[in-house]
Each structure stands twice: as structure tokens, then as C-alpha cells.
Chain length 457, copies 2
């Protein structure tokens, strides 16, 4: 390197809270994103995507200026537009739906998976750059002028479909309803109930925020704040500990709690319980009044997906946001969806031994070589390695060979096995090879090289 | 919506130079990214990825401060690190390789595909956010102390493998060597030749930049600038028009040009020609002295992939950058790779009629429903739609149903066909269904609902 070149510098690192994914970790990410896509497609969601950054005010219109401190925001040199890296997908989704609402089918079912960004302090389960899967169900399968009862039922069906898709993904990864609980609440029902307790609707959002922050507050702080809404210490403790879980066995109908009257709730969620039963996922569900989700835009059902033992942050969260498309300039549109990040999910999968690695991971990500091509060590065989590999690849097969100088066939067969190849092709001459299955060990000698594609295809 | 809510705003749009991908466009993007991945895997490259943004100085160390105007750069509120959205992958790749160089295999073959960002004026074939595929071959398959001749040959093999992977991808999409030309040059050979013409090595980079900018200059400007290096008007015209193409038939060996002596070049590329021949891709290659690539870090072979008619910008570009890993704090590491964006590629595919759409696109992206479930219109059949769909999905099948109120089976079968479903499942009672293949029209009546999974699997 000449003196005019820049000097080497050893200190380059990935930005704090971001990840370098070397092959083993990239394969795990691929495993997750393929499973996200597979579940989305299986449940009839169509893939979309938006820009990785948006106009800054796309985020402030919904969440207020306060969100700016959590955003990576910037301006192009010489430009005058303020942008932000997307911290979530819902504003983009609402913007895109609003722009095409007239042409889009009803309902519209969309999913996406991609990178998202939050300028928060990195900690366990929370990074500054992460992947997130979003699935959303916009519109209803009943006419706009259908009776309110029919629209309520249609909302419950859509809510259940979105929750089912989320559960369908978890199930495909080998998780069960013993590993994972889906905690469901209903903000509209909660609001009705709070109103019945003479708490003015203008204060409900404030109370939701308080419930959402319960994990971060000391019990006495939480109780003091709840007292301002007329709740007793005893009720505060129940909220704090999440004890007012309405199990599926008792809902709907029978109030099972002597502190809070839950009849209102059981009635409100009855259509959802019916839809979740049809979808075959009711055993994954706990109804939990303390789940409110932090975001102010939810209008109905809200849910969070948690590891059953209460370890880790939420794996996923979502809910109904019937007012949001209108806020972004579209028609009034019932909508429900959720987001799931890859960070907490990965921790849970690793913890349960459900994150594959090695050959199992290679197989799950569709990266098994069809052939690992080896020379028997003679010059005429070695001269065929490059053209044989090229011919197999040109025929659409995944072919590898060793870059090592060794002619030790035993060692080369080990390399073939460690990359999970289906077959070793041992070239024996300028015209023939032995085919060895690495799955069952069977050997097939004297295969003409020109027949390899057919034999491996 | 109450008065305390923010007002609707209809003017939200995607940032200039970025894209909203609705399902039809997202499926095309999926088609491209799956083909990128398929070619990479087939050629034995392992997937990696890095952060979407990096420390700003990761880009300035290589390219100088001048690059800042082309970057989206930013700082976290309250933080003091300068970041930039990645405009290319090579600095991240070099940083990642340098950090783990001792543990990584030789050679290391990596690929990635993801979003990249340039703060340039959007124009045809160039956006501010785009996808790019990168494939890189780091290290050589000969020992560090191998004779220089062996290392030259190993470099040529690696160069050819990277070019072959790029061509393997284009071939899989249906493009041929009549549609696409891979223009190859060799900067080291060019430098040797310039030195032999008494042009000082300190001026070579300046000349490379001039050659790279030839498309943007008027012929007389270009000639005047070349004259400063001792080239004649006639030679300038040849550079300008790209006429000094060394076709494969004449290289290596015979000088075929009476203006420039190309013997030097044919000798320099002879090992590469041999390796490209072994890889079966020589018919895609033109050697073209006017290809230099704008970036200063290339040290050997450079190439660009163009639509054969010269329409559009380059589809892909790359080359050898043997000094870069060292610049980022790693050991001296021979390396070669390329990047291909999705924007120009899509224009070429659309132009050639090779971008699938409709049912063909659905099939190519693995999104064909296994079953489209329809009721025969009776209440007992309609009641089975939700549980049948749920059971099929739980079994890993892609199941859809209509959200329309219509009971017109003909219309519903059309919906099934338009989403390219393999089978229509017409539920006839609470226990049985008719299975209709939408591929061959065959009908199978009286299938018990509990056998559907087996019949469709």
C-alpha cells in the first residue's frame, strides 16, 4: 500500500445496539424470516413493504413530538425535509392504505418483515436495529351499512384471524400453549367499564398509560396513581400482579373475581371467544385486564404474546386501531394487526432449544448442497472439478467443492458432511464419478459425468 | 374521532426516491431477492448481513470526505456519534472480515442482499433507497507463501467464480449472452501499460476517473483531458465509443488493434480467460479497456454488467480490492466481489418480458394457495369454512377463503383461480367436501373433511 493511501484503522465496530450477522447468525435470522413469511402466506396475507425511512411528521402526527427522542432522525445535506428511520410499520401501512383505499379489496390482508430502528438504550431483548414482522387485516368482510351486531362479529373474526396467524407461526416453530401465552384485553370494553365507574373518558388514555407502565413503577407509586382514579389499594395490587386474569374456562359469563365485576368484560369478548374457538387457538389465550399496550391509537382488542413463565419482554403485540387510516387521510377503516420482533423471539427459541443449528439449520433454510465434488487425486479427475461444479450449478443444483489442497478423501468427505451435502461426487477419471449418498451411505460407482445432473436432480 | 385527536392529513407521501411496494410490486421484489439468494447458495456463498447504518467514518476512511454529500448522515438526539445509512456494503464487509479474520475459513465466500441508500437526485435506474445484492470471495485457495504464479492463477479462479455467480443468476432469470454483456477490464494491467507509456503511477487514479466519467463528458472535452496524458484524438475517440473491445476470439495473444497495442492486456487476462472457460461463461464476456469503475479501491480485475444494446445504466459492477481489508484493520487479504441493484435489473427484465406477473409470479414466489375453501351455500357447510381453513393452515397448508357475501360458486371458483389456488374445496355438508383441481379441472366428490389434509398435502 503506498504512502498516499489512508492508514489502517483497527477500531471500526458496528454501531451500538446493532448486529453483525456472520453466517451462523444470519442463518438463524433467515430461519425466522422464512417462518414469518410462511405463516403469513399460509394465512392468506399478501406481502408489502414501504421505505426504510419516512418523513418525520409521519410519526409525530400520531404520537406527538415526544416520540422524536426515540427516533433516529436526519436531514439530507442541502435538503430541507426531516426524515426518520422507521421505528414501527403502522404509520407507513396506514399511509399506504389511505393512498389506495378505493382500489384495495375488502378486507385487505398485508404482511411485511424488515428492519426497524429505535434510538433507545440497548438492553436485553431490545436493540437499536431489529427485524419486525407485521401482519394487518384492514376493512371488514361485511358491508359498511351492515347492522352494528354484524360488524362487531366481523371485527371479532378479523381479530381472531390476526391472532391465529401469530399463533400459527409460533406453533410451526415447535412452541406450544404451555410455552407461550397470548394475553388479550379489550380497550373499548375497558373504557365502557371505566365510564360505568364514573371515570371521565378524557382520563382513560391516561389510565391506560398508567396500566402499561405498571412494570416500571414501585407498588406504592402505582397504587397512589390508581387511587386518583378511585381504585382501592387491593385493586391496585391485583392490577400490579396481573392477577385479574380471566381464564378461558370462566369467560364468558361467570364473574370469577370478588374485587372487580368482570361481567362487562365477558360480554364484550364473547364474539372474540367464539371466533378464536373456530380458529382452534383458544387454548393459547388468557384474558388479562392489565394489558393495554402503550400506544394511544388502539381502539378495541389489544394483545401481547409472552413466554409462559413471564421471562423476557413481550414477544409480540398488537390490537385494533380503527381510527388510524382516517388520521392519515384515508376513509374510516376498521383495522387490526400486530408486530413481532426477532430479538425476544430468538431468546425464547434459544432458551427452549427450538433454535436449530448446524446441519438442521442448513436443512431448514434450504441451503443443503446437492453435491460436494471431490477428486480421487489423479490429475485427470482434478481437472474435471471446475467444469463439473460449473455444469451442476448451471443446471440449477447447489454444488460445492473443497478449496483445500488436501487429496485425503476421508477428510474431504467430512467437509462434505459438515456442510450437510446430500451427495459426495468423487470424480474418478476424466469421464466418470462415484456418487455417494451422505444420507444413507450408499455408493453408486461408474456414473458418467454427463449423467450427474440427471442423477442428482 | 373526538376534537382532542390530531386532524386527518391527506398529504403524506413516501420520501422522494423511495418506493411503496404494494403486493404486485412486492412479489416482483421477492422474485428477484429469492433468485439472488438461490444463485448465491448454488455457488456456495454463505449469507451474512451488517447494520443498515454505520459510523460515518467507516465511509470517509475509504472514500474521503467528499462522499458525505452522497450520504444520509445523522446523529442520535443526545448522542455524539455520527452515523450514515449504508450507501454500499463493501466497507461493512471489510470491517466484519477484519474483525474475525483469524477464525474465518480461506477462502471465505459471503453474500448479502438488503436495502442501501444514496442521497442523490433520483432518476431513471437510480433511487435513494434500493436493494443491492453483494457476493464476495475473500482470501485465496493457495497458501500465503505460494509462488506468485500460483497466486495469480488463484486470483483468476476467484475472479471467475464471482463473475460466474453473477452470470448464473442472470441465466436463471432467462437472460442470455445475447441480452447481457459482462464487460471486463484489469486495472493492474492497465496501470502497467500506462507506466510503459511514461504516465506516472500517481496520475493513474486521475485517468481512471476520467475514463469512468467518459459518458458524462462531451467528446471534445474528453479528448482534451486525455491529451494531457499523451493520448491522441484518435485514441480518445476509441475510448469514448468503447471501440477498443478485445473480443474473446482475439484475446489472448493476437493484437487486433492498430491504434493501441493490446498484447500486454491479453497476457494479463490469460489466466482469467482460462478460468472463465472452465466455468462455462466465456461467451458472456467482453474485455473492454474503458471500464474502470469509479471507486479508487479496485486493484485488479474490474467488471460491469450491461444490457447488450447499451440501454440503461450498469446492472451490476465489481472487481478485485486486495487492499481494503487491511485498510479496515485486518490482515492483507486478496478479495473480489460485486454488487447488483434491483432498480436497473427490474427495468431490463420488464423490457425483455422476463419479469413474471399474475399467476406465474405467484407460482415463482411460492405463494400458490393449496386450497381455496368455498361453501355450497347451505348453512351447515358455511359453518365449516372457518374450522376447515383453520385445520388446513394448522397442518402447514396455505388455505384461503372468500370474504365476499356471495354464494355464487362460479364467481368463487374464479376468485380461487385468480389467486392461483391448486384446489378448490367445496364444502357440501358438515362432514364432506368436493375437491376440484384447478390445474386439470378434475373433481373428487365426497371427501370426508377430516381427510382433506391428507388429500391436499
Amino acid at each position: 500500500m503506498s504512502d498516499t493511501q489512508p492508514k489502517p484503522r483497527a477500531s471500526f465496530q458496528a454501531p451500538k445496539g446493532t448486529r453483525d450477522l456472520y453466517p451462523a447468525d444470519a442463518a438463524k435470522r433467515r430461519f425466522i424470516t422464512e417462518a414469518w413469511r410462511s405463516a403469513s402466506v399460509r394465512f392468506g396475507f399478501d406481502e408489502i413493504d414501504g421505505p426504510t425511512f419516512e418523513q418525520l411528521d409521519l410519526y409525530t402526527v400520531k404520537s406527538g413530538e415526544g416520540i422524536i427522542s426515540e427516533l433516529f432522525s436526519f436531514r439530507r445535506a442541502g435538503g430541507d425535509d426531516d426524515y426518520a428511520l422507521r421505528p414501527e410499520f403502522t404509520p407507513t401501512l396506514a399511509r399506504m392504505y389511505a393512498a389506495q383505499a378505493k382500489q384495495l379489496p375488502r378486507p385487505t390482508k398485508w404482511f411485511m418483515a424488515g428492519p426497524f430502528f429505535r434510538a433507545e438504550r440497548p438492553q436485553r431483548g431490545r436493540l437499536r436495529e431489529f427485524l419486525q414482522w407485521n401482519a394487518d387485516f384492514l376493512g371488514l368482510d361485511v358491508p359498511d351499512d351492515a347492522p352494528e351486531e354484524a360488524r362487531l362479529t366481523a371485527r371479532a373474526r378479523a381479530d381472531a384471524e390476526v391472532i391465529s396467524c401469530c399463533i400459527g407461526f409460533l406453533r410451526e416453530l415447535g412452541l406450544t400453549s404451555s410455552d407461550i401465552r397470548v394475553k388479550v384485553n379489550h380497550r373499548h370494553a375497558l373504557s365502557l367499564w371505566l365510564s360505568s365507574r364514573n371515570i371521565d373518558p378524557s382520563r382513560h388514555v391516561e389510565l391506560f398509560s398508567l396500566l402499561d407502565a405498571k412494570g416500571k413503577l414501585k407498588p406504592e407509586e402505582f397504587a397512589a396513581k390508581l387511587a386518583a382514579f378511585g381504585f382501592t389499594m387491593q385493586q391496585a395490587e391485583i392490577f400490579q400482579k396481573g392477577l385479574i386474569r380471566v381464564t378461558v374456562d370462566t369467560a364468558p359469563g361467570a364473574p370469577n373475581d370478588d374485587v372487580l365485576d368482570l361481567t362487562f368484560f365477558s360480554e364484550a369478548v364473547a364474539p372474540l371467544v367464539k371466533a378464536l374457538t373456530s380458529a382452534g387457538v383458544l387454548d393459547w389465550i388468557d384474558f388479562d385486564l392489565s394489558i393495554v399496550r402503550g400506544l394511544a391509537y388502539y381502539t378495541g382488542m389489544v394483545f401481547e404474546v409472552h413466554e409462559a413463565g413471564g421471562k423476557e419482554r413481550a414477544i409480540a403485540g398488537g390490537g385494533r386501531y380503527d381510527g388510524l387510516v382516517e388520521l392519515f387521510g384515508g376513509p374510516s377503516t376498521p383495522a387490526v394487526g400486530f408486530g413481532m420482533g426477532d430479538v425476544v423471539l430468538s431468546l425464547v427459541l434459544e432458551d427452549r432449544g427450538l433454535m436449530p443449528s448446524g446441519p438442521a439449520l442448513i436443512a431448514r433454510t434450504g441451503s443443503r448442497p446437492d453435491a460436494f465434488v471431490i477428486s480421487n487425486g489423479t490429475p485427470e479427475a482434478s481437472a474435471q472439478i471446475a467444469p463439473v461444479v460449473a455444469a451442476l450449478r448451471a443446471a440449477g443444483l447447489h454444488a460445492r467443492h473443497s478449496y483445500k489442497a488436501t487429496g485425503n478423501i476421508g477428510k474431504l468427505l467430512k467437509d462434505a458432511a459438515s456442510c450437510a451435502a446430500r451427495f459426495a461426487v468423487i470424480v474418478e477419471s476424466s469421464t466418470h464419478a462415484t456418487l455417494k449418498s451422505l444420507d444413507d451411505g450408499s455408493q453408486h460407482p461408474d456414473i458418467p459425468l454427463i449423467e450427474l445432473v440427471k442423477r442428482l436432480g
